[in-house]
């Protein structure tokens, strides 16, 4: 009898555990598919020159540098906040509280910034751009580098 009850409890628990999981999976795919299929014409990128011009015009842009600390130290965009890509999820308090804030993500060549851009969009930020070509393009364009 006792065993039967415990089997029943186990079965109910398994069903309950499975329910939110499947709901979450559908949600995950819907969200990722929506991100891809609704990408704007710029594919969420901004040229370094355009970003620098916006900042010079007084527009507030939160520059997020997702490279490793040693890369950041070797030269970065003035005012950029360094959060290495792999620890982004642990350092969310360092990001703007306002999900509509203008964020420009930069790395060395643009790929790490692409991952971070997509991740932040899935987190709910609505105004995130990948600085296309990363710091390599930034420096090539002769834009100012802080050390």
């Amino acid at each position: 009898m006792k065993r039967r009850v415990s089997h029943l409890i186990l079965a109910v628990a398994m069903v309950l555990a499975a329910l939110p999981l499947s709901a979450a999976a559908a949600d995950l795919q819907e969200s990722v598919n929506a991100f891809l299929s609704a990408l704007p014409a710029d594919f969420e990128t901004v040229a370094g020159k355009t970003m620098a011009a916006k900042q010079n015009a007084g527009e507030e842009v939160f520059v997020l540098d997702v490279r490793e600390p040693d890369e950041y130290k070797a030269g970065h965009i003035e005012g950029a906040v360094n959060v290495p890509l792999r620890v982004l999820a642990q350092q969310l308090p360092n990001l703007p509280a306002n999900k509509g804030a203008s964020i420009a993500v930069v790395c060395k060549s643009g790929i790490r910034a692409a991952y971070a851009t997509m991740a932040l969009r899935l987190l709910g930020y609505t105004n995130v751009k990948d600085v296309v070509g990363g710091m390599l393009a930034w420096e090539k364009d002769g834009l100012p580098v802080a050390k």
Binding site: Q29, S31, L36, L39, P40, R112, Y115, L122
Partner: protein, 151 residues
């Protein structure tokens, strides 16, 4: 009559135009969790494959599924031989054109390794376990390096 219709068309166009201005909301806690796990587990090189390494693998006959996610006009202007073109926005609708085996080696290609990063991450969420992207993209990572292209 014609004027009324054209005003209607204009109003519709404005509504669609406005809708296109901001980025579509795609927020989802489950998706963020998956993204956070993906970021935390990224290997050295961040799943990039350099052009010379890809070229050597292709030349040695290794079976690699090349997925070029650029727009059709970019693809037509030059591409790696054998690549399948699925523009990034159409990837969710074209999953049946990808390899059935979830561990098949896939290399995603775009112009400058932004779109390919999005797709590499998205495919990992869909269960693909061996997805890389062409580092630096088609232009800097392949074409400028002088590797063979087809037009």
């Amino acid at each position: 009559m014609f004027r009324k219709r054209s005003i209607g068309v204009l109003a519709l166009a404005m509504v669609f135009g406005l809708a296109g201005l901001g980025s579509t909301a795609v927020e989802s806690p489950a998706a963020w969790e998956a993204a956070a796990a993906y970021l935390a587990g990224l290997p050295e090189g961040f799943n990039g494959i350099k052009g010379d390494v890809l070229k050597a693998k292709l030349e040695s006959g290794e079976q690699i599924f090349l997925l070029d996610v650029r727009q059709p006009n970019e693809f037509a202007a030059g591409r790696i031989e054998g690549a399948l073109n699925v523009p990034v926005r159409e990837v969710p609708k074209a999953l049946d054109r990808l390899p059935a085996a979830k561990d098949a080696p896939i290399v995603v290609v775009c112009a400058s390794a932004v779109r390919s990063g999005y797709v590499a991450m998205a495919l990992s969420f869909k269960g693909y376990s061996n997805v890389k992207h062409l580092a630096a993209g088609y232009i800097a990572g392949w074409e400028k390096a002088g590797y063979p292209v087809v037009k």
